[in-house]
């Protein structure tokens, strides 16, 4: 009994040893998993070293627009500095607010269109640019703002299938009797309200402040003839391509190169898109980003970008450098800029909530 008992005790002791070791290993494993998890959680980990900037990260809209920035401005910038440009798409105000709110700034430049720029200012989400560092070539005045650089003009224009009867104004678009065919309008109050007023005979220079009631009255007349209210810019082009609609409104750069379509800049809604710096961006990366912004003011670079997508930069000397046979495609050439109107972004900012509420109410009645 004695020796046997001893053996059992020994066995037990050994067993206890191994479980202790196993538990120790488990504990280490467990702790390291936990540590790895905590380190990887945003905002909790060790902050990245900012000594050497290897890339400038940019948040902007995708598609041809992103490609034009990459080739037109990113390439000469990288050649000069050796610093890479990384583009992330799409851009929106929610992303910017989340970045600034969490203190986890993942990009040093973010693209904002006019009305969003006003919102970003109101929420204090962007910081001033260093114009001395940008050292810009000559650009239009509206493109040079303390906290934003206008880098790209776009226009919301009338587009149609080639085979449909040509329309040249919003009045024609609203005239379903003389111009039969399926139609589409943007599911975006910012553009559609202006279009509705222009169609109702308001002169472009008298658009702002918008007469919201009149705009919705005008929309009531056309709403039954709109088969799709498009929600993303790519969708407008796709609807035309699919033969889903014959007349629509689209961003100029998305449609001027489409086959089987024609377009008109007449009464187009001109807009300017800006690059801004999120509040709290890494200073070293911001300094590098200023050099990228410089490239965006160079006429020669803008001409390269305009080859890729028919939007135009803000250089005052650009027109001569554009491909002369394609001048009609660009929103800011002297012939086109005259017939369009520039929106009052400030008004849209001040009335954003009201406009959105009315728009949702209108859509519920569709």
């Amino acid at each position: 009994m004695g020796p046997q008992r001893h053996l059992v005790d020994k066995k037990l002791a050994k067993h206890a040893d191994t479980t202790d070791i196993r538990r120790g290993v488990m504990r280490i494993l467990y702790l390291s998993v936990l540590a790895a998890f905590i380190a990887s959680a945003p905002g909790l980990g060790v902050s990245k070293a900012s000594a050497e900037v290897k890339e400038v990260r940019v948040i902007m809209s995708g598609g041809g627009s992103a490609e034009s920035v990459e080739v037109g401005y990113g390439k000469p910038f990288t050649e000069k500095t050796g610093v890479k440009v990384t583009i992330e798409s799409p851009t929106n105000l929610g992303k910017l607010r989340a970045m600034v709110g969490s203190g986890n700034i993942t990009a040093s430049l973010i693209e904002l269109t006019g009305p969003l720029l006003e919102q970003a200012r109101a929420f204090d989400l962007i910081e001033p640019l260093d114009w001395d560092a940008i050292d810009p070539d000559p650009i239009f005045d509206e493109a040079r703002q303390p906290d934003a650089l206008g880098f790209q003009y776009y226009s919301m224009i009338l587009v149609q299938n080639k085979d449909a009867k040509p329309v040249t104004s919003w009045q024609d678009f609203w005239n379903v009797k003389d111009f039969p065919g399926t139609r589409s309008l943007p599911d975006r109050a910012v553009y559609t309200l202006q279009i509705a007023l222009l169609a109702d005979g308001v002169e472009p220079e008298n658009l702002f402040p918008l007469d919201i009631d009149r705009a919705f009255e005008s929309l009531e007349k056309i709403k039954d003839h709109i088969s799709v209210w498009w929600s993303t810019p790519a969708q407008a082009a796709q609807l035309l391509n699919d033969g889903e609609v014959e007349y629509t409104v689209a961003f100029s750069g998305r449609v001027t190169s489409l086959e089987n379509t024609t377009y008109s800049f007449n009464q187009g809604l001109l807009g300017l898109s800006y690059f801004t710096v999120p509040r709290g961006a890494d200073p070293a990366e911001k300094a590098m980003a200023m050099k990228l912004l410089h490239e965006m003011t160079v006429a020669k670079n803008q001409a390269v970008a305009a080859e890729i997508i028919s939007y135009t930069g803000a250089s005052t000397e650009l027109e001569a450098l554009l491909p002369q046979d394609r001048l009609g495609e660009y929103p800011t050439t002297s012939a086109n800029k005259l017939v369009q109107s520039l929106a009052d972004d400030k008004w849209f900012f001040e009335n954003a909530e009201l406009v959105e509420r009315r728009w949702q109410e209108f859509k519920l009645g569709l």
Partner: protein, 274 residues
């Protein structure tokens, strides 16, 4: 190992998940709840806005209405489908269940766009119907409420078919035989034995479909043609364009409360079933 230690060890294994759930889900949820009462001090104004501007609740109502329709359509299509599958030979059952499950592995975005190819103006179905002379001009299947319901039903059908199928194959055949031996007709057996036994699964599956439809975003955005207002799409505007996060939080809290209410019913039905 003693039970207490076992419990402790298993707790250790659960903690990573627990910590990640708390950090990535619960904390943000509580923050969102707090946000819906801030501006920047404590306030009820966001909820007051929701009451004063009925548009938000109207969109929520519209969402619930569409979710109910999609659920009913799912049930009407899904029940006979599950019934039919469960009546097949076991080998064929596996094949049919695979047909139900395989679309699950295809991205929702791809499946939604596929409907454009099939049901669009120049789509397969419309071209066919116009070619054979059944229609004079293409019918509008998508870019409206019908399109959203078709797309949603297509995506959510498996959520209903799978639990129904499971409950149907589990039915004790002796109950049916007992009914038969007592002289019940086929209709009577279905109405008095089979259907009541599958009812909890039908209810639970339907609620699952209903709750998932409430939060659908991609399908209404693409197939709704902008004329179908659903809450997720309104939240997108409130979060990304305005960006009124406080109001968005308040809307989300109300949506969450509605969903939790549904979940509570779901649990009750689930207990009934088992």
């Amino acid at each position: 190992m003693s039970n207490a230690r076992k419990r402790r060890t298993s707790f250790v294994f659960v903690t990573p998940l627990l910590v990640s759930m708390i950090l990535a889900f619960n904390v943000p949820l509580i923050l969102m709840f707090a946000l819906s009462f801030t501006n920047p001090g404590f306030t009820f104004e966001h909820y007051e806005t929701l009451v004063a501007q009925p548009i938000y609740m109207k969109v929520l109502g519209n969402t619930i209405r569409i979710a109910v329709i999609a659920t009913v359509v799912c049930a009407v299509i899904g029940y006979p489908l599950a019934y039919w599958i469960s009546s097949l030979r076991p080998k064929h059952q596996v094949i049919m269940i695979a047909f139900v499950v395989i679309p699950f592995w295809v991205s929702i975005l791809v499946r939604t766009y596929a409907w454009i190819v099939v049901l669009g103006n120049a789509g397969i179905l419309n071209s066919f119907l116009v070619d054979i002379g059944l229609l004079e001009k293409p019918a509008r299947f998508i870019y409206n409420e019908l399109g959203v319901i078709i797309g949603t039903t297509n995506i959510l059908l498996p959520f209903l078919v799978l639990p129904l199928y499971a409950s149907m194959t589990k039915i004790d055949q002796r109950l049916i035989q007992a009914g038969e031996s007592l002289g019940a007709t086929k209709t009577q057996i279905f109405a008095k034995i089979f259907f009541p036994l599958t009812l909890p699964a039908l209810g639970a599956g339907s609620l699952l479909v209903f709750m998932l439809t409430l939060g659908f975003f991609v399908t209404p955005a693409i197939l709704g043609g902008g004329r179908v207002s659903m809450i997720a799409n309104l939240l997108d505007i409130l979060i990304n364009s305005l960006p009124k996060w406080e109001l968005a939080s308040a809307v989300s809290i109300i949506l969450l409360a509605a969903t939790l209410g549904c979940f509570w019913i779901y649990r009750r039905l689930d207990t009934l079933r088992s």
